[in-house]
Amino acid sequence: MHIVVCIKQVPDSAQIRVHPVTNTIMRQGVPAIVNPYDLFSLEEALRLKDKHGGRVTVISMGPPQAEGALKKCIAFGADAAILVTDRAFAGADTLATSFALASAIQQIEKDMKVDMVFAGKQTIDGDTAQVGPGIAKRLNMQLLTYVSQIDTLDMSKGEIQVQRRAEGGVQVLQTKLPCLITMLEGTNEMRFATMENMFRAARYPVNFWNKDTAGIEDVSKIGLKGSPTLVSKVFAPQPNTKPAEIIDTESHEPRDISLTLINKLFTQHPKLCDSIVKQAA
């Protein structure tokens, strides 16, 4: 069995700050991490490999520094890593990104048939959740998003049964390989890197592929040219409301403050107060 896992190196968005004057992202000192949602997919792929044997290849599209993220995946137990990197990919939106990754996966397939592709549910920087479905469509694979559990995998029949999160419930789906899966967050916990795998990762030469190695002939489908969407403006959210009316009483007694506030609510927002009364009743 051969599983390809798509990952992305992202800045730890919790630590990103916006420059107060220039409204630009201050990346300095912000650590780069493997997109956390990707790790749920990688762990699930590794579990399938533990059970059924085979091989896990991780792949990423990004700048040369993304090599670090791929080595991290080797340390977790992936067998091989490919970084698809080329200036020609710059400015790619999700449509162009899914084309580049799908092309690379087709190249991987020339060496060893791919049974399954895993991708993160979404990334924490772009948050689009579009690249996984895009790759599935381009590779003509069955798409299973928001998977909360893999029930059974029968390699002899090429069949898989999964549970997929839907609004208000869970769908139990059965489909045929090859398929593309995005795992729901919190469905598993990434294993610790073993000492052996950490040593292997340190020595492991990540494969660098450019657009030619990735088998891309039509450059109109990659990078900025292949991207139907275009960022026309980036800006910091503007305070578009007036500042709060500060409730102040001279006594500063919590009870006085509460009374003042509730009086204001009842006089200035009678409709709101009607529904509060109704709801509380």
Binding site: A129, F235, K264
Partner: protein
């Protein structure tokens, strides 16, 4: 105006000014995908019809809903409801293979409809179903898709859709346009757009279309649907009153003060990401960029500083009351009322005062 790849150099970098391909000029009208599961339409579909109406009016075109489902499901009622919420037309595909949502069959149906009737804008809810479907449809149609938008506008220069969405965890907003491709697709989170008024006198035209797919040719089978056990799990996005707490609540025991006030008001409890990560409350209750978007009538924020990641999830609330002991907290810049003080003493006082006032109001009514 010039060709796509020869935009005038004097235009600011990245700003698009494109002459639309002749073939794509035929694409007209705004569409909203009407999502339903278990016989219920997801409210985000009505919210999108409200927003779609504004876009269609600006463009001077028609607004249409798209309903797909199996015979036996209330699909015609869904079409009628679409008219009540602002649609002029409804495209309807009815087929037994559409009894459950599946990527393959729904992608085929929606893609075929777009190719046959050529809308210029197609909107879907950013739900598990909408995001799954939008990604596949946009790739099949080779068009642009903008995820999780918070604002939609028409660019007066070129009649294109300008879709604004938060990026980098909500710390920045970016406006995205789809250059020389149609339809322009976008997903929008539930509760970001306001619910339009329902007008039950409105009518419209139903346009039926075949699916052309048989069950045996569909690879993925739905074996079962297990509804969530806990039916009374928090419905934060649709709550009228939310009492939310942040790190300023200091310790998990203090969160009880939030629950107490919520109980008196019949409200839902919300929280910020740090509080959820610390395990004080369920992840279901997280409000903000990586949690739920809410738009209650009343939002009481206790010990919440108002970081942008939280703000994007709750600024649509009608009235915001902020309690924070830091007079410089960002939340005072956009709350309706601010109380500079200790949430641990003010919350119990509020609970008590509300209790008394509500008792008085009940006697009076």
């Amino acid at each position: 105006m010039s060709e796509t790849n020869a935009a005038p150099a004097k235009k600011p970098a990245g700003r698009g000014n494109f002459e639309l391909d002749e073939r794509l000029k035929a694409y007209k009208g705004v569409w909203v995908f009407i999502e339903h599961e278990r016989g219920e339409v997801h409210p985000v579909s009505w919210e999108l019809l409200g927003e779609g109406r504004k876009l269609a009016d600006k463009l001077g075109v028609e607004l249409s809903g798209v309903v797909m489902g199996a015979p036996g499901l209330p699909t015609r009622r869904f079409c009628e409801e679409s008219f009540f919420h602002g649609a002029d037309n409804c495209y309807l595909i009815e087929d037994t293979v559409l009894s459950n949502y599946r990527n393959e069959s729904f992608t085929k149906g929606l893609t075929d409809l777009v190719n046959a009737y050529q809308p210029e804008i197609l909107l879907l809810g950013a739900t598990t179903q909408g995001r799954d479907l939008a990604g596949s449809v946009a790739t099949t149609l080779q068009t642009g898709l903008t995820a999780d938008c918070t604002e939609l506008n028409i660019d007066p220069d070129n009649r294109g859709l300008a879709a604004t969405r938060p990026t980098f965890g909500g710390s920045l907003l970016c406006t995205i346009i789809t250059k020389n491709y149609r339809p322009q697709m976008a997903t929008i989170r539930p509760r970001v757009m306001s619910m339009p008024d329902r007008n039950a006198t409105r009518t419209g035209r139903i346009i039926e279309h075949p699916l052309g797919l048989i069950e045996t040719s569909i690879i993925t089978k739905v074996l079962a649907y297990i509804p969530d056990e806990n039916q009374d799990k928090p419905q934060l996005p649709f709550a009228d009153i939310i009492i939310a707490g942040g790190r300023g609540m200091k310790k998990p025991e203090n969160f009880q003060l939030i629950w107490d006030l919520a109980q008196v008001l019949g409200a839902e409890v919300g929280a910020t990401r740090p509080v959820v990560q610390a395990g004080w409350v369920d992840a279901e209750r997280q409000v903000g960029q990586s949690g739920k978007t809410v738009r209650p009538k009343l939002y009481i924020a206790a010990g919440i500083s108002g970081a942008i990641q939280h703000r994007v999830g709750m600024e649509g609330s009608d009235v915001i009351i902020a309690i924070n002991n830091d007079p410089n907290a960002a939340i005072f810049e956009f709350a309706t009322y601010g109380i500079v003080g200790n949430a641990m003493t003010i919350l119990p006082a509020l609970t008590e005062t509300f209790k008394q006032q509500l008792a008085v109001a009940r006697v009076a009514s």
